[in-house]
């Protein structure tokens, strides 16, 4: 891998440091940010509180999307009932008004929940760029353990401060188990 890179054949995606506990990774991510790196990502087998903030990720956006979806679902559900009973098939039952809105509330509510849940998951997957059949981090053999018990920090080559040797030196200074190159 190193030889081919020396001839300029293979681009590298970044440098990856492996840690064996979440606290070291969190500390490392904070140090990397302090050192001025901004294009990086951390990979963990479980959600770690504060890690997303440590790598400079602020807004999830998902809650706004779900709120909009909920409004849309509720409006749609209510309008469906209203349209069915007032416009499409007006039919007086027990002397109630055609627009008997209290009876529409259950369907309005269910439509709200249905639409927002579907949009929440699809939105989460889309914002995450999933499904994604290929990603360079999987080229690293040790990365198999990112879904088991190891914690990884990857500084990406597109970072303006990225320099193969300097960044490697920096990552080594964080006392990881190992620093690896990620082929792109």
């Amino acid at each position: 891998m190193l030889e081919t890179r020396a001839t300029g054949q293979v681009e590298i995606y970044g440098l990856m440091a492996e840690f064996d506990n979440p606290e070291s990774l969190l500390a490392a991510a904070e140090r990397a940010r302090e050192a001025g790196y901004c294009e990086m990502d951390a990979y963990t087998p479980l959600p770690i509180e504060g890690l997303a903030e440590a790598i400079g990720f602020r807004r999830t956006l998902i809650e706004k999307i779900v709120f909009a979806a909920g409004l849309l679902g509720a409006t749609g559900g209510f309008m469906l009932c209203w349209w069915m009973t007032v416009v499409a098939y007006p039919h007086i039952v027990a002397g109630r008004p055609l627009n008997s809105w209290p009876a529409y509330i259950p369907i309005t509510f269910e439509s709200m929940v249905l639409v927002s849940c579907i949009v929440a998951v699809i939105g989460m997957l889309m914002l995450n760029g999933l499904p994604q059949p290929y990603h360079p981090v999987f080229n690293v053999k040790e990365f198999e353990r990112a879904s088991r018990d190891r914690f990884f920090l990857c500084i990406e080559a597109r970072d303006p401060r990225f320099h193969t040797d300097a960044t490697r030196e920096f990552l080594e200074s964080l006392k990881p188990l190992e620093v690896m190159e990620v082929e792109s």
């Binding site: 990502d41 990979y43 770690i48 069915m84 259950p106 499904p131 198999e144 353990r145 088991r148």
Partner: protein
């Protein structure tokens, strides 16, 4: 293969850490991952023999179900014992029973997540799957009961050449929306929870057929911190949305009854009493399934006495709400001074009045009296006693629906339209058939999908060791 150490000792034995711990000692993230994944990845012939026997029984019942449904479609609903006035026989009893069982799954996964209950973790995946399969069984009954089940899509609002639309003022149409939303959302919730675990399964056996299938299901999940942030927010939103949903579903089911003016159905206590009953029976079913499975797969260190005891307490608590519901029905029959309401109640309880009094008293025995044993800690920590009580509650909750549906319908306002309900062989075959469908799906799920959430177990371990790290 990610450092697959020899975990055979881990797989074949387990020590229950007792009622104070949610997880056994000696686990780290790696070994917990291996143990849960090992349930799925163990060689086919090393599957516990009870699983084979259980699946064989369940599969036989699936075939009984297929025969029963085929015969039903061939002959019509007349093969069941339903008559006028008891047009809602077993089909509706079973529908309400199954959908109630489903409720524990959503309660455990959503409400207990919002309440930050640590004992939720080992059982949430399992009970979500239970929800899914129970709702599938429930959903079949109204369709089978339709008489012309091939026209089931008429229940949905869609433009048609007849210019007819469903009636959204009717609870029966609310039910269509509630149950289909519930089924969809339960599936979404379950699948979302599974994505990181599919990634774990993929990474454990990357170059096998199973690994590739899990890889496709994981959709390229790589545990990025950004992804986790969105994932957790989404999961929380799903929990927040499912919590009112689970309450609404059984409330709507209860409206099917309480909006009608029939004595015995027309009661305002129904929605809360149905929801509590649903959670009651759901927890009973989780216990009935989890207790044998944890033994067969030696999972006592993951599903511990803490889980069993907590679930017993929820069962006891919801059982008392149900008991309040029964008491309120009796009180309202007396306090309303309604002739028909009182008559319907006498009809339920007095042998000389009605024909189904035994069902009512059996239900009081199994839903109210026997579960009171759970007040004793000794009973709650006795695994066999808890298992027995959970089975009794399952039967009791089925009887409750039987009493509500059948007893109320046998004798309404006019004596000339009274009738009796005698279930036929095909009624029982359809009912036990769905139990087979449910169990067969559960057995397949446990064999093919991590039945305990792996990444949440890692979180539990992380939080357990966190205090000791703080001192470092």
């Amino acid at each position: 293969m990610a450092d697959e150490r020899d975990n055979s000792a881990l797989m074949d034995s387990a020590v229950d850490p007792g009622p104070d711990k949610v997880i056994g000692s000696g686990f780290d993230m790696g070994s917990a991952t291996d143990k849960i994944a090992g349930v799925v990845y163990r060689p086919f012939l090393k599957t516990p023999k009870q699983m084979f026997i259980g699946f064989a029984v369940a599969f036989a019942l699936v075939n009984l179900f297929l025969v029963a449904v085929t015969f039903l479609f061939y002959k019509g609903v007349g093969v069941w014992g339903i008559v006028i006035p008891i047009a809602w026989g077993f089909a509706i009893v079973n529908f309400v029973w199954w959908i109630g069982i489903g409720h524990a799954g959503t309660l455990i996964s959503a409400i207990l997540l919002l309440l930050k209950q640590d004992w939720r973790t080992s059982i949430n995946r399992f009970s979500e799957a239970m929800t899914l399969f129970a709702v599938a069984c429930a959903g079949m009954f109204p369709i089978l009961h339709l008489g012309r089940p091939w026209l089931a899509y008429w229940l949905l609002p869609y433009p048609n050449q007849m210019w007819l639309w469903p009636q959204p003022r009717s609870p029966l149409i609310w039910d269509v929306f509630a149950v289909s939303t519930y089924a969809t959302v339960s599936f979404i919730f379950w699948f979302t929870g599974l994505i990181p675990d599919f990634a774990t399964m993929r990474d454990k056996r990357p170059n096998t057929v199973a690994g590739r299938i899990y890889g496709m299901l994981a959709m390229g999940w790589r545990g990025s911190a950004r992804h986790w942030a969105r994932y957790q927010k989404t999961y929380l939103l799903l929990a927040g949305l499912s919590t009112p949903l689970v309450v609404s579903v059984h409330s709507v089911v209860s409206f099917d009854f309480s909006v009608a003016i029939l004595p015995g159905w027309h009661t305002t206590i129904f929605p809360p009493y149905f929801v509590a009953g649903a959670i009651y029976s759901g927890f009973a079913m989780v216990l009935s399934l989890a207790i044998p499975v944890r033994r067969w797969y030696h999972l006592e260190d993951l599903i511990t006495m803490r889980h069993i005891e907590a679930m017993s307490k929820v069962m006891l608590g919801t059982g008392l709400i149900v008991a309040y519901g029964y008491a309120m029905e009796a009180f309202m029959a007396w306090y309303s001074v309604g002739t028909y309401e009182r008559y319907a109640f006498y009809n339920r309880i007095f042998p000389q009045r009605g024909t189904y009094w035994w069902a009512y008293w059996l239900l009081i025995l199994s839903n109210i009296l026997i579960p009171q044993l759970l007040w004793s800690k000794r009973v709650r920590l006795n695994i066999l006693a808890v298992f027995a009580i959970s089975i009794v509650v399952n039967i009791g909750m089925w009887l409750e629906r039987f009493v509500i549906v059948v007893t109320s319908l046998t004798r309404d306002f006019v004596p000339s339209s009274w009738g009796m309900y005698y279930p036929t062989f095909w009624d029982w075959a359809t009912y036990f058939g769905t139990i087979g469908v449910f169990l067969a799906l559960m057995f397949l799920f446990i064999r093919g999908i991590p039945a305990i959430s792996i990444f949440e177990t890692r979180e539990v371990l992380h939080h357990e060791v966190a205090p000791s790290h703080a001192g470092d």
